[in-house]
């Protein structure tokens, strides 16, 4: 393997890792806020990809232009899912943890079934976009523009989240609710409202990931599953609830996966990631940056 080929694998792994991080961060946010693992996270991603696809068909605008609209739609979806399902699941008296798991898992199956029914199992693909099919050639290392764009969006999102959480009132309310759900009520923070906005934000974040992914990945009703497992591993590796952890872990997962393929047969590409994950679980069960 030449140096050039090695650099290619590293660069591709890094870009993909940033996208993994972007997919995972919404999941981490919701977990950190209210201890709920959203098993429908992959399906949210799939819906965002279909929303992008549908809007491109309907408006013939570029997916990049349509991103804010997709993100807004996903925000509404997140808030509605909280108000319509999660709020009730959290109130369950017996075994609320299991009820939440079944509620989001059931939601995942429902969304998948509906997508298959309404969108058919056909593979979709957004053709002729501004970025699609264009590649940057850096001395023999090829970087596709959609992935570069995805990486840049991912970094911008993490910077934005950092600002939101540390500098705004909403961010402070979010942090306070994370610290102590009971105490925030005493200082006049509407816990329910924070949770609803948190779900909206989580869904909007995965909506950004979906809109980016739709530019270069095929879309079908099961596409969420391909990325959801990686998102769960990323969140656990980075530490549940840690935004910064999601970023670091996403990049690590992307790089480790790419490097594993160079050493082991390609069919074992996940072995490196899962081994690392197990190692972290043994040594530091809370994940790299977790606060559990």
């Amino acid at each position: 393997m030449t140096t050039q080929a090695f650099l290619q694998v590293i660069a591709s792994g890094l870009l993909l890792g940033l996208i993994y991080a972007l997919i995972a961060v919404g999941l981490s946010l919701i977990f950190g806020l209210m201890d709920v693992v959203n098993f429908a996270h992959g399906e949210f991603l799939m819906l965002a990809m279909y929303a992008t696809f549908g809007l491109v068909l309907a408006t013939t605008l570029d997916p990049v232009v349509l991103m804010p609209l997709v993100v807004a739609l996903m925000f509404v979806l997140g808030v509605s899912v909280y108000a319509g399902i999660i709020r009730y699941a959290m109130r369950a008296k017996a075994n609320p943890g299991m009820v939440q798991i079944f509620a989001t898992f059931g939601l995942a199956l429902l969304i998948q079934g509906l997508a298959q029914y309404f969108f058919t199992p056909d593979y979709r693909n957004i053709a002729n976009t501004w970025l699609g099919g264009k590649t940057l050639n850096l001395g023999g290392v090829f970087l596709p523009w959609p992935q570069i764009f995805g990486g840049a969006v991912s970094l911008a999102v993490f910077a934005g989240l950092y600002w939101l959480i540390t500098r705004t009132d909403f961010g402070k309310a979010l942090e306070a609710t994370r610290e102590d759900q009971g105490a925030v009520a005493l200082v006049g923070i509407d816990r329910n409202r924070v949770f609803a906005l948190g779900w909206g934000l989580g869904a909007a974040l995965v909506g950004i990931a979906g809109a980016v992914l739709a530019i270069f990945y095929y879309i079908h009703p099961q596409v969420g599953g391909t990325f959801a497992l990686i998102a769960y591993v990323t969140v656990a590796l980075g530490g549940f609830g840690s935004i910064f952890g999601a970023l670091v872990a996403g990049v690590i997962v992307g790089l480790v996966e790419a490097l594993t393929t160079l050493i082991l047969p390609a069919s074992l590409k996940s072995v490196g990631v899962y081994s690392l994950y197990l190692l972290v679980l043994f040594v530091r069960p809370s994940g790299l940056f977790g606060r559990l």
């Binding site: 056909d122 593979y123 590649t135 079908h220 390609a266 590409k269």
Partner: protein, 413 residues
Amino acid sequence: MNRREVLLSGVALSLAGTHAFAQAGKEILIGCIWPLTGPTAQIGADARHALETAVDIVNNSHDLDLPTAKNAGLAGLGGAKIKLVFADHQGDPQKGRAEAERLITQDKVVAICGAFHSSVSATVSASCERYGVPYIAADSSSPSLHRRGLKFFFRPAAHDEMFSLAMFEFMDALKKKGKKIDTVGLFFEDTIFGTDSSNVQRKLAADRGYKVAVDIKYRASSPSLTAEVQQIKSANPDVLLPSSYTTDTILLMKTMDELGYKPNNILAQAAGFSDKATFDAVGDKLNGMISRASFSLDLAAKRPSVGKVNEMFKARANRDLNDNTSRQLTCILVLADAIDRAKSTDGEKIRAALAATDTPGEKTIMPWKRIKFTPEGQNDDADPVLLQYLGGKFVTVYPAQAAIAEPKWPMNG
């Protein structure tokens, strides 16, 4: 004939009459196991159209030169109609097994067809064997399937050894004409389909003096194939031999394009490379790709039923018959013909009728010599064809007797 014999034959006739009458009102249930949900659900959706087209041919009267087409229903069972019962295996062998047992014990199907994924065909046919119910592998092509000594397993179509052999004979022929083919690249998914296919290709390459420049077994439905494609690109084989399902095929072609890699030639083991979804998504990157196939629309010139059946299918599915759907459709016709000849819905009798099948190629829509099963249940006369994708459509380029054009080689030249 004495009075006793007259009386007896009268009784026999009337019994036969009631029997036939009972059968005419009865529907003969056939289990169909395909992926109706999951990543390969599109295959199942297309299969449903193909199988239902076949049912139309059997159950209604059509002017087609195919077995069971002329009569409405099965003449051997007093005009009984066949009915399909669908089950969904989602690409999972264990789900396939459970569904097969449900079809046999609860729905009482007389035979089962399936299953696209060879891994699922393996479990489903094992269950069928246990219950004494015939299994027809319509579109599963792993060679290991018919080598398990099963009595109730039948495969009318070619398996991957026959397909791979055709590919290597094709390459030999090109080499003789002075084309440079020294190295091949294997790229295959990690279930039974890809693994079996690559094993055969590895052996054929060694036997015939081709160097395997790159040999990659990859994980199916990967989020990224960049590192894999990088390895292919570094090795740059004269011919890439991929065995991939649809999602991976789309990703493979996109990634090659992104990494600025144009393969010299692609000789594909169908599957994802013959799925319409692939051509919708990345057809522009596949110009010149050659895939093995069981079917060729060009054949309509020689066998008129091909064109007519294709029109019937197209009316339902809004697309032409392809490698998969033609085999799925044929599987029901083969089975209906056997039930018709067995004049019974008994598993053992249908099995015997299948084993005795001898249908000339002209009475099929396939480019085959004939349908005649070996004791292992394989039809060795199912000649594969090689099709090249040129200017948005497939052209038959091999073997010589079926070819209508010379191959464009190299594909990106």
